[in-house]
Symmetry: C2
Subunit: 168 residues, 2 copies
């Protein structure tokens, strides 16, 4: 048993400080299973995952991404990529998979932060270059992951002003 679903949704926060303990292969497998259980349009599953544990590659990503310096402490990065040739909905489907992955990270007691790539051209290019991602595949983001060295309070951010009843 991992943590309760609703509790985990509220406790998932952006974690940017990590210990040097590596993430286990079992935990990586659970994250990827969770990601690939996401819904996708016509179940087309237009996603790929580049799993990075090598220090030199993590450091190269940390240096290249404008908000990625925490990758120099992270023990794991997963780049989630979409294949636009498979589906018009690749960006939405990959984002659902990313959210499942982030929730699995939180449920496993690990910490992560979503580093945006697409649609910023320079960030897409740096991820392609460092991770050898083909030109027809789009890196949606980089997820920096590790054992947490900071804690944050759960929160809902519920905002009634964003809720419209019956119609807009």
């Amino acid at each position: 048993m991992t943590k309760d679903l609703i509790e985990t949704i509220f406790s998932r926060r952006s974690i940017r400080k990590y210990t040097d303990e590596p993430v286990s292969d079992d935990d990586i497998k659970t994250m990827l299973e969770a990601a690939m259980a996401a819904p996708s349009a016509s179940n087309s599953q237009p996603w790929h995952f580049v799993v990075v544990m090598e220090r030199a590659t993590l450091d190269a990503l940390a240096e290249a991404h404008p908000h990625g310096k925490m990758l120099a402490q992270a023990t794991l990065c997963i780049a989630v990529c979409g294949d636009p040739a498979i589906s018009d909905y690749w960006q939405q489907d990959c984002s659902a998979a990313i959210e499942n992955l982030l929730l699995a990270v939180a449920a496993l007691g690990l910490g992560a932060v979503w580093l945006s790539a697409y649609p910023r051209e320079k960030r897409v290019a740096l991820a392609r270059r460092i991770l050898s991602i083909p030109e027809n595949i789009v890196p949606v983001n980089l997820i920096s992951i590790g054992h947490p060295a900071e804690t944050k309070e759960p929160r809902t951010q519920y905002n009634e002003a964003r809720v419209h009843r019956g119609r807009w």
Copy 2:
């Protein structure tokens, strides 16, 4: 306590058959709290939620959406909308919120299915027309929700071919 996180991720399936029991206000609030707990770029929260329980509106959506006939049985529809003026990442952020909402639905013992709208122009137009959504706001999808009248097995869909180690 609702269900375990990882178990719920695997058990969330597209549910298209429902009983006529209405969804409670408490459950709707929990879904919206879960959705708005999603991460967003710079925490910009570029999302809106149109909550529809009126039979006539649900029936109009069922008739207009090409894959929406289950809305004629659903007791609830939530249209998740993005505001592109707030963030370049509106589509990704809304999709993370949608996935949180779908997982909350599953954890509460309810059932739902994601009906695509954006980027299909006709579907965006029908949602705007029926739900009075402003021109500057984009309906990403319609979520058909109800008490389930069908069950499906949990699954992971894990596919090792989509995993690239170290680099692509």
